[in-house]
């Protein structure tokens, strides 16, 4: 009994401390996941805690559960728009890209470590997939707002590419266990069948399971608190069910999340909220545990070759495979560069690193150690430079406003609208305005305003002041739009770089290109002067435009600022665009960024 209590104290204490460590880390901008990992190491046998944890079986089980929850949560948050923009490039990256990365990294491992080719390929496979936890997390941090096409591709890729890496890893491990099999048609056929079962089975489990879960949520009459539990246990059943028949549970969990997240059901808000918290917990537990699992003092031997592999992966293998995979798609080179750079590794490689250990392969610790070093390097270098790289490549959008002050109510699913109460924030666009003068669409109804604890009818309110609650009925997809109206504007860079991102001046999409030519010397053939900027840009930009898309026209650049459905509602103009900063030394960008962070720490600390 005493042991049990100690375990609870230990586990809860670690999670508790993690949250505070996370608070401190946001000051220096260190990737939060790195902090959890470091904390785990600190608590481990080589650190202050001295906790001895080397139960790979437990680590595998906990890791798999946590990963399934994170993937399910990622699916819930993957909006239809994301899939529309990015599903094809993400699919190619998640299949061909993973294989290419694994093979290229395997070649490097072959020359760097004393391994045969199959063992080398195993090293490559373990580190081949990007990590959903890290990507979802880092791309959705406050203050990070990327051109949608890029973030959508990275997110969908990370959700979809784990099955491929798992498949490659497991296959390599099996082949190594059997001893080198003779190359034969039947062996290849078996392998092919296994692959099809993984992918097709995972997809089937995810889609069928997702719809079944959706139906259950909408049909069963339960205590409200039980809906998220239903969703969670359902997702884990789908995951484990798929895994047990040899299909990919990771793919299934992600797809089930997508199905549930993109359909109206009556527990949207409560499930989202519960999952949000649970995904946090999963990430904390997973990274803490992986930090505990590793024994830093044993890393010494493999450290140098592992670092070399990490660098090779970041600057050769990932960029090459991304360049090849995205070639058929409409991406600019800046966007490709960013996708190539942000191949964040996270829990998955470390988790896959436990597989050879569990299989009892000779020299198994090596795979785990390499995976660990690769992930650590990736989180430090890529995680830390993500925002600077986005800025340097002109892919960062102004940060979104603070969304924290909104309360949603679930209405019955068939209403198709949500009820929400917003607190009018000081300095928001709504503060000081008349209620019927709010910049909101006609399809949004103000139900009432609560002021000083008393309900007012909309007609009697007059000007809104900070602290008023405005209750509205709004189509679900526009909830976030209203955050901008009622929310406090985001903290801006004092030098105004955030505003500059979308150009110096703005025009309506209907403005004539010829007028802009006369004013700003745009290089556009006379035949197109009569077009509206909207038509012109949609003609010349590749694919569906997203905010932040740029078109260079002689000395200036036109930038998409706002969309209204497919049409460009507002364009910006940048009068003195920088030459493509991809040529700037990335190291230089990084160093400047690190310096700024350090200065910030000292200023706040002092």
């Amino acid at each position: 009994m005493e042991l049990g209590n100690q375990l609870i104290l230990l586990g809860a204490g670690l999670v508790f401390v993690s949250i505070f460590a996370g608070l401190i880390s946001s000051r220096i901008g260190a990737p939060l996941l790195l902090v959890f990992l470091a904390l785990g190491m600190l608590a481990g046998e080589d650190g202050l805690g001295g906790i001895h944890f080397d139960n790979f079986q437990a680590a595998y089980t906990i890791g798999a559960t946590a990963l399934a929850i994170v993937l399910f949560d990622g699916g819930l948050r993957t909006h239809r728009d994301t899939l529309r923009l990015a599903s094809w490039p993400a699919l190619v990256l998640a299949t061909v890209g993973v294989i290419a990365t694994a093979v290229l990294t395997g070649v490097a491992a072959f020359f760097l470590i004393d391994l045969n080719w199959l063992q080398s390929l195993l090293v490559g496979s373990v580190v081949a997939s990007t990590d959903a936890a890290a990507v979802f997390f880092l791309l959705n941090l406050r203050g990070t707002n990327l051109v949608k096409r890029v973030s959508a591709t990275l997110e969908a890729e990370s959700g979809l590419n784990d099955p491929m890496a798992v498949f490659l890893t497991v296959t390599c491990v099996e082949l190594l266990q059997l001893g080198m099999p003779e190359a034969s048609w039947s062996a290849a056929l078996d392998l092919g069948a296994e692959f099809v079962l993984q992918i097709a089975g995972g997809a089937a489990f995810g889609l069928v399971g997702g719809y079944a879960l959706l139906r259950l949520v909408n049909v069963l009459q339960l205590a409200t608190g039980l809906y998220p539990i239903l969703a969670l246990s359902g997702a884990l059943v789908i995951f484990a069910g798929a895994q047990n028949v040899g299909a990919s549970g990771f793919l299934a969990a992600y797809l089930a999340g997508i199905v549930l997240g993109n359909q109206r059901h009556r527990a949207t808000q409560i499930i989202d909220r519960f999952q949000d918290g649970l995904a946090w917990l999963s990430q904390i537990v997973m990274f803490l545990m992986l930090g505990l699992l590793v024994t830093p003092s044993q890393l010494a031997d493999s450290l140098l070759p592992a670092l070399a592999i990490a660098v090779f992966l970041m600057v050769v293998a990932r960029p090459l495979s991304v360049a090849a995979c995205l070639l058929p798609f409409r991406f600019t080179w800046r966007e490709r560069g960013f996708v190539a750079w942000v191949g964040l590794r996270g829990a998955v490689p470390i988790f896959l690193g436990t597989v050879p250990v569990l299989a009892g392969l000779p020299n198994a610790a090596l795979y785990f150690e390499v995976a660990f070093v690769v992930v650590l390097t990736s989180l430090i270098v890529q995680g830390w430079t993500l925002n600077s790289a986005a800025r340097g490549l002109n892919l960062a959008l102004p940060p979104p406003p603070d969304p924290s002050q909104r309360v949603d109510v679930d209405l019955p699913a068939d209403v198709g609208r949500d009820m929400a109460a917003y607190t009018v924030q000081d300095g928001s666009a709504a503060a000081g305005r008349h209620l019927n003068d709010l910049p909101i669409g006609a399809d949004i109804d103000v139900v009432s305003v609560i002021r000083d604890g008393a309900m007012r009818r909309p007609g009697t309110v007059g000007r809104l002041s900070p602290g008023d609650y405005v209750v509205v009925v709004v189509p679900a997809e526009r909830l976030e739009e209203l955050d901008k109206v009622f929310g406090r504007p985001p903290k801006r860079d004092r030098r105004g770089r955030d505003e500059a991102v979308l150009g110096e001046f703005a025009f309506g999409g209907e403005v004539k290109v010829g007028d802009l030519v006369a004013m700003y010397d745009l290089a556009v053939p006379a035949a197109e002067h009569d077009l509206s900027a909207d038509t012109f840009l949609r003609r010349h930009l590749r694919g569906q435009p997203v905010p932040g898309d740029r078109l260079r026209l002689g000395p200036v650049e036109l930038i998409v600022r706002k969309l209204d459905g497919e049409h460009i509602k507002q364009v910006g103009i940048e009068l003195d665009p920088q030459p493509a900063p991809i040529r700037k030394d990335l190291l230089f960008i990084w160093a400047r960024h690190a310096l700024r962070r350090l200065r910030g720490v000292f200023r706040k600390g002092g």
Binding site: G496, F505, D521, L575
Partner: protein, 154 residues
């Protein structure tokens, strides 16, 4: 292209009293006409024409009306600090109290664009705007603008 080359100390209006966007543009056109010798009416028309394409109120209380005039032979800026903020149809829908007019000769090309970019970069800096808002005299504002511009160019 330095800001000091665009603006003279006598092109600063430290406290302009106007109540509307139209009145502000009229008043600034009048002063610009005195500086450049170009007809007031012409300047006003060019600035209004530009506002028709889209507002030059760029947010945070700043507006940068601008246009091209064939009569001019050099770039010319005019800066005004308003006594009370006015509605300028700005992007962020906030009232405007700092206005920098930039007039360019027809065919000023890259110089015109660079000058506009320079002015807008300068006025995006919160601390520069706060200093200007806290200043009463033309000389002080001129010093802030030219000195800050030099540091921004670095």
């Amino acid at each position: 292209m330095e800001i000091a080359d665009l603006i003279r100390p006598d092109a600063i209006v430290p406290s302009l009293r106007v109540t509307s966007k139209k009145q502000a543009l009229q008043e600034l056109s009048r002063r610009a006409a005195e500086l450049t010798g170009v007809a007031e009416r012409r300047i006003f028309e060019v600035l209004v024409e530009r506002e028709r394409l889209g507002t030059t109120g760029v947010g945070n209380g700043i507006a940068i009306p601008h246009g091209k005039l064939s009569e001019l032979n050099r770039l010319q800026a005019l800066f005004a600090r308003l006594e009370t903020p006015i509605d300028f149809d700005s992007i962020d829908e906030q009232p405007v109290d700092l206005i920098c007019v930039l007039l360019a000769p027809e065919g000023a090309g890259a110089d015109h664009l660079k000058a506009l970019a320079r002015v807008s970069r300068l006025l995006r800096d919160r601390s520069v705007c706060e200093k200007i808002r806290g200043s009463e005299s033309a000389d002080a504002i001129y010093a802030i603008i030219t000195e800050s511009a030099a540091s921004h160019a670095a």
